[in-house]
C-alpha cells in the first residue's frame, strides 16, 4: 500500500450521500417521539410498527427543515415533490417498504464551497436532497441465537444529501462533510451527533486515469466519524488502484468499513442487489409548496457559516483560518462574539480569538463539554482578557488563572487576588530580583558579558523563577538587557 501509486496518474472520484437526521420532535409520518436512547420499542406506535390499516401523515416540520437546507445551499426547491416507496424485505423495515423520495426530490441542484488545503476554494455540487424515513435496528446482544428488533428509530426523519462526484480525495471529502455538518447545525435542522447516528455518510469511491471515463464505483456504507471517512476512503482508493494495476477489475458493490482492522469489506454485490420497485406512495399526496411558504422559511435562515466567516475576517481582522475555526459551530461563534463585546470590542478581537480557539476549546474537548455547558462564561473570560490587556497578569499566568476559573467558576480577579498572581510591574522590585540573580550566578554573568548571548534566556528564567513568574515579561526583558550589559 503506497501513496506513490495514488500519485502515479490516478484520479480519485468521490461522491457522498449524507444522512442527516432532522431534529423534529416527532417522526416523519407518525406522532412518536424521536428522542435517542429510550428503551427498545418504547417510541414506536402503530404507524411505526406498520400495523394493518394505519396510514402515514407527513410531518410539516420535516418539510420546513428540508426547505431550509435547500435555501441555504442555493438549491432549487421543488414546488411539487413526491414520496415513493422503496420496496424490500427486512425485519427492521416494518412495512416492507421505506417511504423516500425518488424521481421528484424536494431539493435539487445546489452547491457548497469548501476550503482546500492550499487555501483555494472549491465548489461542490449538491445533486439532490430528499426526505425519507429511517429504518429500525436489529440487535443481537443478550438474545442468544435470536435477533431483536428495536423500532424506536423507524420513521425518524432523514434528509439524504447527495453530492455530485466532485470530490477528488479523502481530504476534500472530509472538508465537504464537515462543511455540511456545520451547516445543518447552524440551520438547527440536525444535532450532528455522529456517535448516535444522527449524521452519517456513505461514500461512493472510484478511481480513473486522468482524463478517462469514470471508473466503476464502490459504495462504502455508514461511516460514523470524520476520521473514519478519511481512512475508509484512503483504504478503498489504494485497494482499487492495486486491483487495477494488477490487471483486475473493480466490481460494483457495497462495502463496509471495519475501523478495527482499517479496511473495507464487501457487504453485498450488485448481483444480489434488490430491485426496489420504486413507485409513488399512494397513501401520501404530492408535497406542494407555495411561494409564500418558501419565503417564510427563507426569512428564518440564520447568518450562514460562510457569511459569518467573511464578517469575522473583515470586522475583527481575523485570519481566514481563525475565522473558519471560530465559525465551525454557531454556538462557538456566538460565544466568541460575546467575549469580544464584553472585552471591549475590536481591540480585544485577536486576543479573544486566541483564547477561544486555544485554552477555551481545549478545556471543552478535554472535559467533553459543549459551549452551552462551558464552565467559564463569556463575561468571565472577558474579565480575564481585561487583566491580560491591562498588564495585571502575563499571558502565561493567565493560563494558570484560566484553569482555576474553569475548576471553580471564580472570576479572574478573585483568582489573581487569592493566589497573589498579580504581575510585578514595580521596576524597583524587578531590579532587586535581577540583582540577586546576578549575584548568585557570577560565572554565567561573566560568560554572558564575554559574548555568550544565549545565556540571556537563562537570566530571564532565573528572574521569573525568583518572582514566581509574576514579573511583567516586557519590563523584565528591558531591565535585564540594560543591567546585564557589560
Amino acid at each position: 500500500m503506497n501513496q506513490q501509486s495514488v500519485d502515479a496518474g490516478w484520479e480519485v472520484v468521490i461522491g457522498l450521500e449524507i444522512h442527516a437526521q432532522l431534529a423534529t420532535r416527532s417522526k416523519i409520518f407518525s406522532s412518536s417521539p424521536t428522542a435517542y436512547g429510550a428503551a427498545p420499542n418504547s417510541q414506536a406506535n402503530l404507524v411505526d410498527l406498520g400495523y394493518p390499516g394505519v396510514l402515514p401523515v407527513l410531518n410539516r416540520e420535516a418539510v420546513r427543515m428540508a426547505v431550509k437546507f435547500g435555501l441555504a445551499t442555493g438549491s432549487t426547491i421543488a414546488r411539487r415533490s413526491v414520496f415513493a416507496r422503496k420496496n424490500y424485505f427486512y425485519p427492521d423495515l416494518p412495512k416492507g417498504y421505506q417511504i423516500s423520495q425518488y424521481e421528484l426530490p424536494i431539493v435539487a441542484k445546489g452547491a457548497l464551497d469548501i476550503l482546500l488545503e492550499d487555501g483555494s476554494i472549491k465548489t461542490i455540487g449538491i445533486t439532490r436532497a430528499h426526505l425519507e424515513e429511517d429504518a429500525g435496528k436489529s440487535t443481537h446482544e443478550g438474545l442468544g441465537a435470536a435477533s431483536g428488533i428495536d423500532l424506536n428509530r423507524a420513521g425518524t426523519p432523514l434528509l439524504e444529501i447527495v453530492s455530485e462526484p466532485d470530490l477528488r480525495g479523502a481530504k476534500e471529502a472530509v472538508a465537504y462533510l464537515k462543511k455540511i455538518h456545520t451547516l445543518v447545525r447552524y440551520l438547527e435542522i440536525c444535532d450532528g451527533n455522529m456517535q448516535e447516528g444522527s449524521f452519517r455518510c456513505d461514500a461512493n469511491v472510484s478511481v480513473r486515469r486522468f482524463g478517462a471515463e469514470l471508473g466503476t464505483r464502490c459504495e462504502i456504507k455508514n461511516v460514523n466519524s470524520f476520521r473514519y471517512v478519511e481512512k475508509a476512503i484512503n483504504y478503498e482508493v489504494v485497494r482499487q488502484i492495486d486491483v487495477l494495476e494488477g490487471g483486475g477489475k473493480i466490481v460494483q458493490e457495497t462495502r463496509l468499513y471495519d475501523s478495527a482492522k482499517d479496511e473495507t469489506r464487501p457487504m453485498r454485490s450488485k448481483e444480489e442487489a434488490n430491485d426496489y420497485r420504486y413507485f409513488p406512495d399512494p397513501d401520501l399526496l404530492p408535497v406542494e409548496l407555495a411561494e409564500d411558504f418558501i419565503e417564510t422559511v427563507r426569512a428564518t435562515l440564520p447568518e450562514l457559516p460562510d457569511e459569518k466567516a467573511d464578517r469575522f475576517c473583515s470586522a475583527y481582522g481575523l485570519s481566514r483560518y481563525d475565522a473558519l475555526v471560530l465559525t465551525s459551530g454557531r454556538d462557538l461563534a456566538d460565544y466568541y462574539e460575546s467575549v469580544v463585546r464584553a472585552a471591549g470590542g475590536i481591540p480585544a478581537a485577536k486576543l479573544a480569538a486566541n483564547w477561544v480557539m486555544g485554552d477555551f476549546s481545549g478545556a471543552l474537548n478535554r472535559d467533553n463539554l459543549e459551549v452551552a455547558t462551558a464552565r467559564v462564561s463569556t463575561d468571565l473570560l472577558a474579565g480575564l482578557l481585561a487583566r491580560i490587556q491591562d498588564d495585571t497578569i502575563s499571558g502565561k499566568i493567565a493560563k494558570e488563572v484560566f484553569e482555576s476559573m474553569w475548576a471553580d467558576g471564580a472570576s479572574a480577579d478573585a483568582v489573581i487576588e487569592a493566589k497573589g498572581l498579580k504581575q510585578i510591574t514595580d521596576t524597583g522590585a524587578i531590579e532587586a530580583a535581577i540583582e540577586a540573580v546576578m549575584a548568585a550566578n557570577p560565572g554565567q554573568l561573566a560568560e554572558y558579558r564575554s559574548g555568550k548571548d544565549r545565556l540571556f534566556g537563562f537570566f530571564v528564567g532565573q528572574t521569573m523563577k525568583a518572582t514566581a513568574g509574576k514579573a511583567n515579561p516586557a519590563q523584565l526583558n528591558d531591565l535585564l538587557k540594560r543591567m546585564l550589559a557589560p
Binding site: L46, P52, L55, P56, R85, P91, R277, F279
Partner: protein, 486 residues
C-alpha cells in the same frame, strides 16, 4: 312486527317512540343471524355480547335524551375495518389471529353515533375477488339462491343486508366491491368519492382506489349512514377537507331536469340479454320522471380492466409486504432462518388469488417493466379520468349496468381469473377516476336480482342518492326480500 323489514329511518323512529328498545331490536337481528348464518356464512365473527352492550348503551343514551338518529341501529362491519379488541381477519388465514388494538375511523364514527355492532362480515381475501370465494373462511351464499355467489369482495355485507341479518352494513370498493355484490343480491350500495371517507384503519388493498361505503336496502338508508362515516380525517392524508353535504335533507331533490348520460361504451357489448333490457327500462323510468337522457362517450373506458389489473396489483404487492410473520399475523412453525420465515409465513398465510396479484404487481413494478406496465397504466388512468370529467360538463350523472350478469354459480369462475376479472368491467372506471358511484336494484332476471349503476362527478354523492331515491320512490325492487328470509 317484522323489525328486519323496516328502513333505517323507520327503525330510528320506532326507537324514538319506544315501540321497542335497542336491546330488543338487536336481539331480533342476533336471533336471525344465529338461525341463518350457518347456511349463508356471511358473518365471520358475530359479536353478540358487544352488540347487546352497545344496545344497552344506546337505550341509556335514549333515556338520557342524548340519542341521535342512528343510536341503537344495528350494523355489520366488513371484516376489513379494524375493530379494537375484536378480531379483524380481512378474509385471510394471514390474519386469522389478528386483533387490532384500535378502531378504524369508520368504526369509530359509527360507534360514536351510537350504532350497535352485530359482527364482522365475510369477504374475499384482502378484498381481492368478485365472488367472495377467495375467503379463507369459505364462500358466502347468495340469499336469493344458495347455489350462487353473492358477488365480492363485500359478499358478506351484501348477503347480511339482503337476508336482513342486519339493517345496514359497511363495505369497501376498490374495483366494484360494494356495487357488484349489491347488484347480485338486490340491495343498494354506494361507493363515495375517493377521499370522502377516511381509509384509516381499513386494511389496504390498493390505496389509490380503496374507498369505504355503505350497503343497505335503500338509498335513503345509505344516505343516513354515509352522513356519519363521511368527512375529513387528519389521520388519512388522502381524505379531503371539504364539508359533507346533508344527504338526508337533499335526498328528495327532484329528478326533473336532471341530465343523465348514457355511457355509450357501457351499452356496446355483451348487454343484449335480460340485464340490458332491465337497464334500458331504468332509462325509461328516469325519462318518465323528467330526466333528460343524453348519450356520452368515454372511449378509453374499455381499457379500464387491464389498467386496473396493473395499478391495483402493483399497490397491493407493496401494501401486503407488511404481512411478513414478524410482528403480527400468521407465522410459520419453526422457521430455519429469516428467508424461511418470510417464505413459509407468506406462502401459508396468503391464498392463491392474493398470491397471483402480488406476483402480477411485483412484475409490473420491476426494473425494465415499470414504464411498459405501471406508467402506461397510470397514463390510461389519467385519460379515463379526463374523459369522465369531460362527460360531466355535459351531464349531471352517468348511468350503466353494474354487472354484466346476475349472480353466477359458486365455483363457476374460480379457475378462470380473467373471466372473473371481467365481472368488474362496468364498475372499475369509477375507481380509476375516484368518482362516487352506486348500484341500486332494478329488477330480476328470473329469480336473481339485477342492479343498475349511477356514477356522479367528484363529491356528487348527494345527487347520486337523490336520483336513486327518486327511482326507489316509484319502484319496490329494493324492498324485495328473498322468500327464505322474509
Amino acid at each position: 312486527m317484522s323489525l328486519h323489514t323496516l328502513s333505517v329511518a323507520e327503525l330510528s323512529a320506532g326507537l324514538a317512540r319506544k315501540d321497542y328498545s335497542a336491546v330488543e331490536l338487536t336481539q331480533h337481528f342476533l336471533d336471525r343471524i344465529s338461525l341463518s348464518n350457518p347456511v349463508l356464512n356471511a358473518y365471520v365473527t358475530i359479536t353478540a355480547e358487544r352488540a347487546l352492550a352497545d344496545a344497552r348503551a344506546a337505550d341509556a343514551s335514549r333515556a338520557a335524551g342524548t340519542a341521535g338518529v342512528l343510536t341503537g341501529i344495528p350494523v355489520a362491519q366488513k371484516d376489513i375495518f379494524c375493530t379494537d379488541g375484536i378480531r379483524t381477519t380481512c378474509g385471510s388465514r394471514m390474519l386469522d389471529n389478528f386483533v387490532a388494538p384500535y378502531d378504524s375511523t369508520v368504526v369509530e364514527r359509527l360507534s360514536a353515533a351510537g350504532t350497535v355492532l352485530l359482527g364482522k362480515t365475510n369477504m374475499d381475501e384482502f378484498a381481492m375477488g368478485s365472488s367472495n370465494e377467495t375467503s379463507w373462511y369459505g364462500p358466502v351464499r347468495n340469499p336469493w339462491d344458495h347455489s350462487k355467489v353473492p358477488g365480492g369482495s363485500s359478499g358478506g355485507s351484501a348477503a347480511v343486508v339482503a337476508a336482513r341479518l342486519a339493517p345496514v352494513a359497511t363495505g369497501t370498493d376498490t374495483g366494484g366491491s360494494i356495487r357488484q355484490p349489491a347488484a347480485l343480491v338486490g340491495i343498494s350500495g354506494i361507493k363515495p368519492t375517493y377521499g370522502r371517507v377516511s381509509r384509516y384503519g381499513m386494511i389496504a388493498f390498493a390505496s389509490s382506489l380503496d374507498q369505504a361505503g355503505i350497503m343497505a336496502p335503500s338509498a335513503a338508508d345509505c344516505a343516513l349512514f354515509l352522513q356519519t362515516i363521511a368527512g375529513f380525517d387528519p389521520r388519512d392524508s388522502t381524505s379531503v377537507e371539504r364539508p359533507v353535504a346533508d344527504y338526508a335533507a337533499e335526498l328528495t331533490t327532484p329528478v326533473k331536469g336532471l341530465r343523465i348520460g348514457i355511457v355509450k361504451e357501457f351499452f356496446e357489448r355483451g348487454l343484449e340479454g335480460p340485464t340490458g333490457a332491465l337497464v334500458n327500462a331504468v332509462l325509461e323510468q328516469y325519462r318518465a320522471l323528467g330526466a333528460e337522457l343524453v348519450e356520452v362517450s368515454c372511449p378509453s373506458l374499455p381499457l379500464s380492466v387491464p389498467t386496473y389489473y396493473v395499478v391495483a396489483p402493483a399497490e397491493c404487492s407493496s401494501n401486503l409486504s407488511r404481512f411478513d410473520g414478524v410482528r403480527f399475523g400468521h407465522r410459520c412453525e419453526n422457521p430455519r432462518d429469516l428467508m424461511d420465515l418470510y417464505k413459509r409465513s407468506r406462502g401459508e398465510g396468503f391464498g392463491a388469488e392474493v398470491k397471483r396479484r402480488i406476483m402480477t404487481g411485483t412484475y409490473v413494478l420491476s426494473a425494465g417493466y415499470y414504464d411498459a406496465y405501471y406508467l402506461k397504466a397510470q397514463k390510461v388512468r389519467s385519460l379515463i379520468t379526463a374523459e369522465f370529467k369531460a362527460a360531466f360538463t355535459k351531464v349531471d350523472l352517468l348511468i350503466g349496468p353494474t354487472s354484466p350478469t346476475p349472480a353466477f354459480d359458486l365455483g363457476a369462475k374460480v379457475d378462470d381469473p380473467i373471466t372473473m376479472y371481467l365481472n368488474d368491467i362496468y364498475t372499475i372506471g369509477a375507481n380509476l377516476a375516484g368518482l362516487p358511484a352506486m348500484s341500486i336494484p332494478c329488477g330480476f332476471d328470473g329469480h336473481l336480482p339485477v342492479g343498475v349503476q349511477l356514477i356522479g362527478p367528484h363529491f356528487g354523492e348527494s345527487r347520486l342518492l337523490s336520483a336513486a331515491h327518486a327511482y326507489q320512490s316509484v319502484t319496490d325492487f329494493h324492498r324485495r326480500i328473498p322468500a327464505a328470509y322474509v
